[in-house]
Symmetry: C2
Subunit: 247 residues, 2 copies
Amino acid sequence: MAAFRLGPEPRAMTTTFDMMPVAIVEGCYPDKFGVPRQPGLASSATARLVLQPPFDTADALRGLEDFSHVWLTFVFHRNPTAWHALVRPPRLGGNRKVGVFASRATHRPNRIGLSLVEIAGIERTPHPTIIIRGHDLVDGTPVLDIKPYLPWSDSVDNARAGFAPAPPPQYAVIYSEAARKTLATRPDGDALVTLINDVIAQDPRPAYHRGNTERLYGVRLRDIDVKFRETVLDGQCTLKIVAIDTP
Amino acid sequence: MAAFRLGPEPRAMTTTFDMMPVAIVEGCYPDKFGVPRQPGLASSATARLVLQPPFDTADALRGLEDFSHVWLTFVFHRNPTAWHALVRPPRLGGNRKVGVFASRATHRPNRIGLSLVEIAGIERTPHPTIIIRGHDLVDGTPVLDIKPYLPWSDSVDNARAGFAPAPPPQYAVIYSEAARKTLATRPDGDALVTLINDVIAQDPRPAYHRGNTERLYGVRLRDIDVKFRETVLDGQCTLKIVAIDTP
């Protein structure tokens, strides 16, 4: 298909753009490992999005309470700046390669991420802050822009989505007696169980680790360390919370 | 609503991030004036998205043909870098102010734009290029990232969208005999009529110019200059294409 071209030759641009964080994420994922691979998968996860100087005025948030969701443009700041033209999405079992621009891989040029999150609240003092829910952002993530979600402009009926046509499968999550006991001692125990279920059900392990029932994994959530292991229950791959390490 | 906070105090970040264009837009809108205020409003508008060195490898686009839409993160490079905490959206008639983060205004911190566009084709030689349709990007726009649209992650049922709950109204567009004649001389005349209808029907004028039937406006599309004026037809505000100036 032809598209109009103003000049005969493609143009080059050597300008670069210096971006400042407008907000910083304070959230429940201290590490990259375990962070949901898309927003909305862990719907219980909340975070604070604290505006940064010189953008930290409550005026900049005026009217945002009339919207239910926002887009966040952020930087995968904990990722190396190296990028590759081809990546191996976990959805393809880590075997097949696709182009970096045909994926949402975190290793990418400019390390730009995009997340659609729910607005759970807005605080104006002492620091202008948006409380967000269902996020997929590592604690400390710099956010470069915040825009309201417009349903009539931002959603497409019958879109084709290649290798990722549906949400990834969820796994059953079970708890050891020891893990249950530790959680029972926490005032935020119920919220933690919901968060652990959301996060572990997605199986944060690399695709090629599936089927390995020997190895023990650790995911940090808030201030706890969740130890889990694959186990087989009724012939089904299940993820078992073996222990909870607390500070 | 409370969200978990790891530390007692909000953190500050003074790091900035230097971004390189991964692609440049070659499109039908040489100027800012007339560009649709959201993608999808001018569904006929096509553009070429030409990958830039060092990202200009066809590998980076592998598998993208299996997706129908992409998100583009770009820079409003023709806008001043100045920003204001409060903006006056055209949707509110230019009277009411809302916070910059509750709007998609182009005058914003980091000048970051976000567009959902349809993939109309992919070219691999001589320059890796995505042909996009239904875009809202000025010719020459630097694109910082390209990501596939994921329907199960990127759309929300029953989202609330404050002051912009539905697409903006469309106006009737009529043509003078002179404009019709000029368009008939162009090999791309039919495509131009579709594009002109799409663009002018949205009324690109500032909200406070509505009702002014005196003033003549010019919108550049591709290599033509479209002159239009508000007129009243059957008691309805109508936009009349008065003349088409060609090179």
